[in-house]
């Protein structure tokens, strides 16, 4: 299995200026992130708000320009490609966004929303475009007549199916799923997740699945990276994270998941608030909330230790 996405030392800082003259401060949304997404995997990025998980996804697609670092897609570095040369890669790398209520243009028909990419990338006749749209709508569980409706005529789950159709009609290889089901009810979520799994098989897709929901990760993912304040704290295969988690933050996250139907559980909840990403703590960014924190954690940032092949952890005490 080859590497489809290879991200090295990626950084994305957002500049914040209170006024024109004041000194800018930087929010380090993505801070020195390195990881590889193998072809055909479902790579989950898990984190809470402010972890930079959405920014990471957008930066890899170059919807946001990276501050530094490299992004290699299928052996080709795309970090600094100009807009013209980037277009071909845009076709191959698509996104499904979080909020299906804002991700579809409110004044356009479904066929225009889905057909937009076809018009840009392929020199197709209108009847060919029509067929392609019809075909993809049926694959995502909608019908031909839905083409002539506006987004507001659909439920949240159906809208998310339209967004998936818009991404897949271009026959991409790589799909960033940015919390694709967090705005949906559970019964709808289950069906959308099942659809995503099915489509991945059918089109041999690779997913980067961004979410805060560990249960969904357990259901979907093959690989997992856990982010906190712009950094990857732990990454590994699904079993590495769910069976052999080493980082205190990962353990805390797993512990916080409500159990279903097995009674109350005793958990060690991390204390305190998530720090402001514009002012991250020194040393290990998690030390302010970590139950195991020692003096060294405030002073020195831990390295990325490889615990077993492919299982990395950023903690002084994870060995």
């Amino acid at each position: 299995m080859g590497i489809l996405i290879d991200v090295k030392n990626l950084k994305k800082y957002f500049e914040i200026r209170r006024s024109l003259l004041s000194k800018p401060t930087y929010v380090r949304a993505v801070e020195d992130v390195t990881f590889q997404i193998p072809e055909g995997s479902i790579y989950a990025i898990v984190g809470e708000s402010g972890s930079g998980k959405s920014t990471l996804g957008r930066t890899i697609l170059r919807l946001i320009e990276p501050t530094s670092g490299t992004i290699i897609y299928n052996g080709q570095e795309i970090t600094r490609l100009d807009n013209k040369r980037m277009i071909e890669y845009r076709r191959q790398m698509q996104i499904v966004q979080q909020d299906p209520y804002n991700s579809l243009h409110p004044r356009k028909l479904v066929k225009e929303i889905i057909g937009e990419g076809l018009k840009i990338h392929f020199k197709m006749r209108p009847d060919e475009i029509y067929l392609r749209i019809k075909e993809i709508l049926e694959m995502v569980g909608l019908r031909e007549e839905h083409m002539f409706r506006y987004p507001h005529e659909f439920s949240g789950g159906q809208r998310q199916r339209i967004a998936i159709a818009r991404a897949l009609v271009l026959r991409p290889k790589f799909l960033v799923l940015d919390e694709p089901t967090s705005a949906l009810d559970v019964s709808v979520q289950a069906r959308v997740l099942a659809l995503l799994k099915e489509l991945r098989e059918r089109f041999s897709l690779t997913y980067m699945f961004i979410t805060h929901n560990l249960a969904v990760v357990d259901y979907m993912a093959t690989q997992v990276a856990v982010m906190y304040l712009g950094k990857i704290m732990e990454l590994g295969s699904k079993d590495d994270i769910f069976q052999r988690a080493a980082h205190p933050y990962t353990l805390a996250l797993l512990d916080c998941v409500p159990s279903v139907g097995t009674g109350r559980k005793i958990r060690s909840v991390p204390r305190g608030e998530i720090p402001n990403p514009a002012k991250p703590p020194s040393g290990c960014v998690f030390h302010t909330r970590c139950p195991k924190a020692q003096k060294i954690c405030q002073e020195k940032e831990p390295e990325f230790y490889e615990l077993s092949p492919g299982h990395f952890c950023k903690c002084h005490f994870c060995k």
Binding site: H105, P106, R107, E116, R166
Partner: protein, 262 residues
């Protein structure tokens, strides 16, 4: 409701002016000069014996023409500049908005006067002058809309699909900006008439014998004490139509903004 009636009435008058007007609005009829309102001349006649009623009715056509052209010109310039500034942001935004600020720094009527004095007298130049004053309002609004829309996920989605900036701007951002811009333009129509009448009154707009309302008011200036009707009737029409446009604009705004609805 009232606003809609007034504006519809105004437009109907403009359309059917040749049928409604009993006399020729331009041809002098000196024996009939300065007649007070009567059953023959509903609003009286002016110093050349022309029927004021007919002139006012034909004047509606001129006003509609002015409104139409100013709206189209200022709407186009304003929207183009506004959405470009709002969508690209940064330096483009700074430059375009500072230019807009320069226009906004002067009182409107004075700027319109200066511009039409510069361009020379005449209806066409007056229309140009008013447009050059009016576009700034549209530009600011379109900019604000474009800034709001460009950060919407559906615009990001189009970018992800591979659309160029120009394509996003024209096919995705622009259509969303149009409806607030149109409301604003409706609200401005009353002001446009006022400015046009102001210029006409000062002799900078439509030239005699064109029956522009402001110009007719101006014609009657020297007869105001004895022959009050010459200035009063066109003046009343200006007031009523401006009121009508303002009421209509308010109504449209209320309909589009559910927060103000009761």
């Amino acid at each position: 409701m009232i606003g809609t009636f007034i504006v519809i009435g105004f437009i109907l008058i403009a359309i059917f002016a040749p049928i409604l007007a009993p006399y020729d609005p331009i041809k002098p009829n000196l024996p009939q000069r300065l007649k007070p309102p009567s059953s023959q001349h509903l609003f009286g006649t002016d110093q050349f014996g022309r029927d004021i009623f007919s002139r006012v009715i034909h004047g509606a056509r001129i006003e509609v023409w002015i409104i139409f052209l100013v709206t189209v010109i200022s709407g186009t310039i304003g929207t183009a500049i506004g959405i470009t500034a709002g969508y690209f942001g940064g330096a483009v935004d700074e430059i375009l908005m500072r230019i807009t600020d320069i226009f906004l720094a002067f009182p409107r009527l004075i700027l319109a006067m200066a511009l039409s004095a510069m361009l020379g007298r005449g209806l066409t130049n007056a229309i140009l002058a008013i447009s050059l004053v009016e576009w700034t309002v549209v530009a600011r609004l379109a900019r604000a809309e474009a800034m709001k829309i460009k950060s919407q996920p559906y615009i990001e989605a189009v970018k992800a699909v591979g659309a160029s900036n120009l394509r996003i701007l024209l096919f995705h951002v622009l259509p969303m900006c149009l409806s607030p811009v149109l409301v604003q333009l409706t609200l401005r129509m009353g002001t446009i008439i006022l400015t046009a009448a102001g210029l006409g009154f000062l002799g900078l707009g439509a030239q005699p014998p064109t029956p522009e309302w402001g110009a007719i008011v101006s014609d009657g200036r020297s007869y105001l004490v004895q022959q009050w009707w010459i200035s009063t009737f066109p003046g009343l029409f200006i007031a009523v139509v401006v009121l009508g446009f303002n009421l209509l604009g308010d109504g449209i705004r209320d309909i589009l903004d559910p927060r103000l609805r009761r």
